[in-house]
């Protein structure tokens, strides 16, 4: 039996009187990959942050190698051999890759002189380990999200960590990078490094993890060996109720709703497609393949160089966001924090912000009217919010995403462009979102559904377009397509095996 290297127990934590953790606990053995699972808001992130020293617990004890320790900050945790890779990458965009790896690294003494050549060598060693062949002198802002993710992992490695916490590490990686990451994880494991793996992706957990701890409502529900549990049991532990995966719906699609031909922008080349009434059109592709650029063009954020669009057969052109909204187009953006939510504003304000013109034609906002417009949507979206007045930043990821859905649906649009709506949210919330998409299709709306997870595209969509480098490379019927088919057209044939 390997030695227990970390044990945290009886942890309580409240934010502004809202309890995030209630007697939570967790234990980790040397050299194991231990999954931490739970629905959004179950407390996984808070517990991870407490272990990593980023958040201080109200109560609780932390044992490292059987000894009680106090962690007063991330540097303390680092010295104990703990490092964390956040889902929202905490890199400094204007610093270089090497600088990012050295900064806040206890091996580089503060106030010391920087020797850049040494720094480069240091960085290169760990970049190689994660299989990233980029110059350590490149500023992080110039990297793709996938590359940033790998830099963050390299940074964690460079801190000589014995315990690495990975919060949704694959949420912005595509298949071969994921494979590389898994190889790296098993490599680390054999060296005795323990990994806390926070993820919602069931297949990953069953592939790479040894044990799993499930959290619900701020408490630890239980711990199991992966070999002794089925996915269905695991999901039941997480949601605390019986869970049944939905079948692929059979749908009748109607007349053409939106047709785009020859769309060319700064980032798109000659994109043509159509969406029918009641159809869910999937878009697959690597990060940076132009999926989000397509959304930006449809919603009037990116300028059209060439191309036509028709809605109900009539020519239409979204020159501005306002215009696109008037045409009945709405976008759910890829990054809910950067492009979606106003974090300091309330749930209600976030829901109505795009449609105040309709809700308050005289310019005076009436709260009662806002509430009555939003409340039916909340029931629809199974959105739980303690209060409409709560700042949206205090909600879990899945609920934040539902707030954005509410914003999109408030004006009852005809065409929805959903840019990776299930990114970084838990199983239960994902199912809710699939159900929402199904219902939208039933109502005869045209849904364009972008995702990095092929299984969900295959399950939810009627047809799937594959994009690569700003072009559409393939079109599939979702009923007959396979993941392999799609991947072939999503990756670059010349340099396949490269990273996103």
């Amino acid at each position: 039996m390997p030695q227990e290297i970390l044990r945290i127990s009886d942890v309580d934590k409240s934010y502004d009187g809202v309890r995030a953790l209630r007697g939570a606990g967790f234990s980790l053995l040397a050299g194991e990959v231990h999954a931490l699972m739970g629905e959004n808001g179950a407390g996984k992130s808070t517990l991870s942050k407490i272990i990593a020293g980023a958040v201080r617990a109200d109560r609780g004890s932390l044992l490292i190698d059987g000894r009680v320790v106090t962690v007063n900050g991330p540097l303390d945790a680092q010295k104990l051999g703990i490092s964390i890779i956040y889902q929202e990458l905490d890199l400094f965009p204007n610093l270089t890759v090497a600088e990012n790896m050295a900064i806040a690294n206890h091996q580089f003494a503060e106030g010391g002189r920087v020797r850049f050549a040494e720094l480069d060598r240091f960085a290169e060693r760990f970049l190689k380990q994660v299989g990233l062949s980029i110059s350590p002198r490149r500023p992080v802002a110039s990297l793709s999200i996938g590359e940033m993710q790998l830099v963050a992992i390299a940074r964690a490695l460079s801190m000589n960590a014995r315990i690495i916490i990975m919060d949704e590490p694959t949420s912005s990686l595509f298949d071969d990078s994921v494979e590389r990451l898994f190889r790296l994880i098993s490599d680390l494991k054999s060296k005795g490094v323990a990994i806390i793996y926070v993820s919602h992706k069931m297949d990953e957990i069953f592939r790479i993890c040894d044990r799993v701890t499930v959290m619900r409502d701020g408490s630890t529900v239980g711990m199991r060996a992966i070999a002794e549990i089925t996915p269905a049991e695991l999901i039941r532990m997480m949601v605390g109720r019986e869970w049944k995966a939905r079948e692929r719906p059979v749908r009748q699609t109607g007349d053409a709703l939106l047709a785009v031909s020859g769309l060319t922008t700064r980032k798109l080349r000659d994109v043509s497609f159509e969406v029918r009434k009641g159809e869910v059109l999937g878009i697959a592709g690597l990060v940076g393949a132009g999926r989000s650029s397509l959304g930006a063009a449809l919603i009037g954020l990116d300028k059209w160089k060439r191309g036509q669009m028709t809605l109900h057969g009539r020519p239409a052109r979204p020159d501005s966001v306002r215009k696109a909204f008037k045409l009945g187009l709405r976008l759910l953006p890829e990054d809910r924090k950067l492009q979606g939510l106003m974090m300091q504003m309330s749930v209600l304000e976030n829901c109505t912000i795009a449609d105040l013109g309709q809700l308050a034609p005289d310019g005076v906002v009436r709260r009662r009217r806002e509430v009555s417009a939003v409340q039916p949507l909340f029931l629809h979206l199974t959105l739980k919010a303690a209060s409409l007045r709560a700042p949206v930043g205090t909600l879990s990821g899945g609920n934040q995403q539902k707030v954005l859905f509410a914003r999109c649906l408030l004006a009852n649009p005809e065409v929805l462009f959903l840019d990776d709506p299930t990114r970084g949210i838990d199983v239960g919330a994902k199912e809710d979102i699939y159900a929402i998409i199904e219902r939208l299709a039933e109502q005869g709306k045209g849904v364009i559904f972008v995702s990095s997870e092929l299984p969900e595209l295959l399950r939810c969509c009627d047809r799937i377009l594959v994009m690569r480098e700003g072009e559409i490379t393939a079109r599939f019927d979702a009923a007959t397509a396979t993941q392999e088919d799609i991947m072939t057209f999503a990756t670059n044939p010349v340099s396949s095996g490269e990273f996103v």
Binding site: D16, Q339, M345
Partner: protein, 338 residues
Amino acid sequence: MTAIPKRASFFWGKSAGERRDVSLSLAALIAICLLAIAISPTAFDGSRIFLELGNLTDILRQVSIIGIISLAMTFVILTGGIDLSVGSILALSTSVVALVLTHWNPGGAQPFVIAVAMLAALAVSTAAGAFQGAVIALFEVQPFVVTLAGMIGIRGLAKWLSNNANIDIGFGRDVASTFAGIFRGKSVIIGCYIGLALIFGLLLSWTVFGRHVRATGDNERASRYAGLPIRRIKVLVYALSGLLSGVAGILYAAENHQGNPNSGIAYELDAIAAVVIGGTRLSGGKGTILGTIVGTLMIGVLTNMLRLNNVDSNVEMMVKAVIIILAVAVQRQGRVAQ
């Protein structure tokens, strides 16, 4: 499932965090008032001079000009911007109103001339603000840089218009004197402040525009995705800032019986201080008009307290500095949990 929220309380802020910030500022204001009462010198009959009606209204009059400027400054800061040009616009406004009254008198009945002079000052001030807003919105230059340039350039304009001389408004029976007579009245000045505070409080908490202002400052990129007219919002807040600096200029000219191109120096800093003490975040998105009013009053009461006790005015500045840091630090502490 979802609790039906209570009615939005006027001025009070929309979120729990905002209300906590305002409550903190209010508590601090009350504490300072209690201290002022405690250490106030007493009159012959043993009553506290601080509490005399005349003294209390003096405080209000003294804070009114900065108070008015800081109302619009709250909007600017809420969008994530800053307006350093308010002092210069005030100077421009004093000069324009005095020039129209004394040199460019358009003729006609006194009320008409006064109205023309005031409208001219307000129009010029608003235009100056709107122009800066347009540069910020269209060329995406940082507000700090644009309004820093504005602060220099508009001061230059005020000096050029007035030949860098004070334009005196007399005490006689001419139109200029009548103007000063009306607008230097305590009740008029305080009335202006209270009226504008009500209007701006309503504007922020009850209108679409106010909501848009906060959204822009909270997350400009998300606001663009949500289709908000960001450029128009920015031009408008700087125009409002110009407008209220113009109003402050008119009151200043009346109170001091002159148009003064060198007036209003460092007023932007006092206004920003009032806004920040009131709990508005310099990064934008969060803040209230009530907070700003409380911040303004805090500075006013503090100044009054120190002056009643004959504290050296240089010491007064040092005390102010401490209060600014304290106020913001306390609010900051309350937010660390988030």
